[in-house]
């Protein structure tokens, strides 16, 4: 793709990013930071693409480390965000919508609720 199309995409993505975050209640600042943090773990793809033409052991080692880092970023980021958010979620009656932010009665589910997001990885984890 030529540079100008890429810059156009870049600019539009910037506007979307600015627009999406309008007013966030303080309570959600931390999970939101953590969630965006997980999304930039997309750099993992950079490692996957680059390793296809890596030559020599050093480059391969560098890229394996990069992939490892990217994976930690993605997997850890989404899981940690999910854990944080589940603290605010009420468990018993399912889809009760309390409208504003002073909402979910704090039924913290037993903290060991990390597995629900069975996301982010083909080779699934040991833990």
């Amino acid at each position: 793709m030529d540079l100008l199309s890429e810059l156009a995409i870049l600019l539009l993505a910037a506007f979307v990013g600015f627009q999406v975050i309008s007013k966030v209640p303080n309570t959600l600042h931390t999970p939101l930071m953590s969630g965006t943090n997980a999304i930039h773990g997309i750099v993992l793809l950079g490692g996957l693409v680059a390793i296809a033409h890596a030559q020599g052991p050093l480059e391969k080692v560098i890229l394996v480390i990069a992939i490892t880092f990217g994976t930690i970023n993605v997997v850890g980021g989404f899981l940690v965000t999910d854990r944080m958010l589940s603290m605010f979620k009420k468990k018993p009656d399912p889809p009760k919508e309390e409208v504003e932010e002073a909402k979910p009665p704090a039924e913290a589910e037993p903290p060991a609720d990390a597995e629900p997001s069975a996301e982010s990885k083909p080779p699934q984890e040991p833990a």
């Binding site: 993505a13 975050i21 303080n26 999970p31 953590s34 943090n37 390793i51 930690i72 980021g77 833990a127």
Partner: protein
């Protein structure tokens, strides 16, 4: 992308790019859902699904051969083996530093990818500036983000002092380091193919990342982490341009932009400007920080008390407000606090919790902890709702909070935190402050509340102090 014979349609670059479009649509939707409490959980899951799609699509790339798949698998497995347990086991109190760490490795990945790409191009980045410029940018910013996040982690984890660490002539050193990194980048773009120069670029940016975060006080860490988060996003977007990968461009820029807005909102909640945070040294010039014996600056004496006395005081109160801070988080005292509240409620004493937006080390930190201890959500009051209540409150118990209760922010124009919205704890009839020592808070300034004649200090670990009060109360 040309292995025509073996290529089935799913290996077609167009198919992969179509998957990317699905992936970043999910990111955008997920991100917007993350801004509302009712949809946030689903938003995060959507984004995770988007990521899974993007990763799988990338692996369809027909250029990958078996041994490369093996290397990829090694990276994915190690990354998962490290990431999952740390995310699952980390205590809620240590969440902020965990986020810093995850952000850091992201930045580190960008810097490493840039390095590998430099080597693959044989160092000839000057050949194609449309690749060379974003690659140098990604390397510099990624390296800053990696090291800066590590320092933020070390500070929050207590490996480094949380108070500002002054670097002599810091600003000039930082500008010089940035100049070295950019200079090395320019030399490479002008045709130098020296790998040493590229490593110099990475190292200068690394030192800059360290030195830029060191002088920033721990209280400002959320803003720093959020800034570095936006940085990593930008560097990922730059890497995306260099690698011709739309998913990276869109997702990276999305984080770069939304991270910037988020940083701004966080800074506003603390009544700080991003500039003043990043230039560092909050409270650096303020009167002698930590550990000073009571009263040198403020004049007045500190009254210390015992758990038994506090229990008696509480037993005759009608309304009690608990003001939690970082000290509660560190001591893991939230369950003990909940027990105390239960004991008080048994005696028909009303208990409320005053939550300052930036109490703890991250916005929302206290909400998360108290929610974990099953404190009913409707007892957690935001600052604007609770402030008028203090005048009607018999006893306020400040548990490990400091700067967010400092009346100087309201009264003393020359105070470094003047203008920061605070909890008006000093308006209640009696104040109990549970604290380990007279050391100052992360802002590094004295708190006249501790010298107020209505205030009594209960020195000790938050958890055991609170538990002691509860048992004394039970015995009354």
């Amino acid at each position: 992308m040309s292995a025509p014979l073996a290529t089935s349609f799913i290996q077609d670059p167009d198919f992969i790019n179509a998957c990317y479009i699905v992936a970043f649509s999910l990111f955008i939707t997920g991100l917007s859902m993350l801004t509302s409490p009712t949809t946030a959980v689903r938003g995060n899951k959507l984004a995770a699904v988007g990521m899974l799609i993007a990763v799988v699509a990338t692996l369809l790339n027909s250029e990958l051969n078996g041994s490369e798949f093996l290397l990829i698998a090694i990276g994915l497995v190690i990354g998962t083996a490290v990431g999952v347990p740390s995310a699952v086991r980390v205590k809620m109190t240590a969440m902020p530093q965990m986020v810093a760490l995850f952000n850091g490795v992201g930045g580190g990945a960008v810097a490493l990818i840039a390095w590998a790409e430099f080597r693959q191009a044989g160092g000839e980045l000057g050949e194609d500036l449309a690749i060379g410029i974003p690659l140098c940018f990604a390397a510099i910013v990624g390296s800053i983000s990696f090291w800066g996040s590590n320092i933020a982690f070390a500070k929050l984890q207590g490996l480094l002092s949380g108070s500002p660490i002054k670097v002599p002539a810091g600003l000039f050193v930082n500008i010089a380091l940035l100049a070295i990194a950019v200079g090395a980048g320019v030399a490479i773009l002008l045709g130098s193919t020296s790998e040493g120069l590229f490593i110099l670029l990475l190292v200068a940016a690394a030192v800059l990342g360290n030195l830029a975060v060191l002088p920033i006080g721990g209280a400002d860490m959320p803003v720093v982490i959020s800034t570095l988060n936006a940085f990593t996003g930008l560097s990922a977007a730059a890497a995306g341009i260099a690698l011709d990968n739309t998913a990276l461009i869109v997702a990276g820029m999305l984080v770069g932009a939304s991270g910037t807005i988020l940083t701004d909102q966080m800074a506003k909640a603390m009544n700080r400007s991003i500039g003043s945070v990043l230039l560092g040294g909050f409270g650096g010039e303020a009167p002698a920080a930590g550990g000073g014996e009571g009263g040198s600056e403020i004049g007045g004496t500190v009254r210390s008390t015992s758990a038994a006395d506090v229990a008696i005081l509480l037993a005759y109160a009608r309304q009690v407000i608990v003001v939690p801070g970082y000290g509660m988080a560190v001591a893991q005292a939230q369950h003990a606090v909940k027990e105390l509240a239960k004991e008080l409620e048994k005696r028909n004493i009303e208990v409320k919790y005053a939550i300052h937006p930036v109490a703890g080390r991250m916005p929302g930190h206290m909400n998360v902890l108290l929610a974990e201890a099953d404190v009913p959500y409707d007892q957690l009051k935001e600052m604007d709702d609770i402030n008028p209540e203090f005048g009607r409150t018999d006893v306020s118990i400040v548990i490990g909070a400091n700067d967010v209760t400092n009346p100087d922010a309201r009264l003393k124009t020359e105070s470094p935190i003047y203008g920061m919205p605070i909890l008006n704890v000093d308006e209640s009839k009696q104040v109990i402050v549970i604290k380990r020592s007279m050391a100052s808070g992360f802002a590094g300034i004295e708190n006249p509340l501790f010298f107020d004649e209505k205030t009594q200090m209960l020195f000790g670990d938050a958890k055991s102090s609170v538990a002691e009060i509860t048992s004394e109360l039970g015995g009354l």
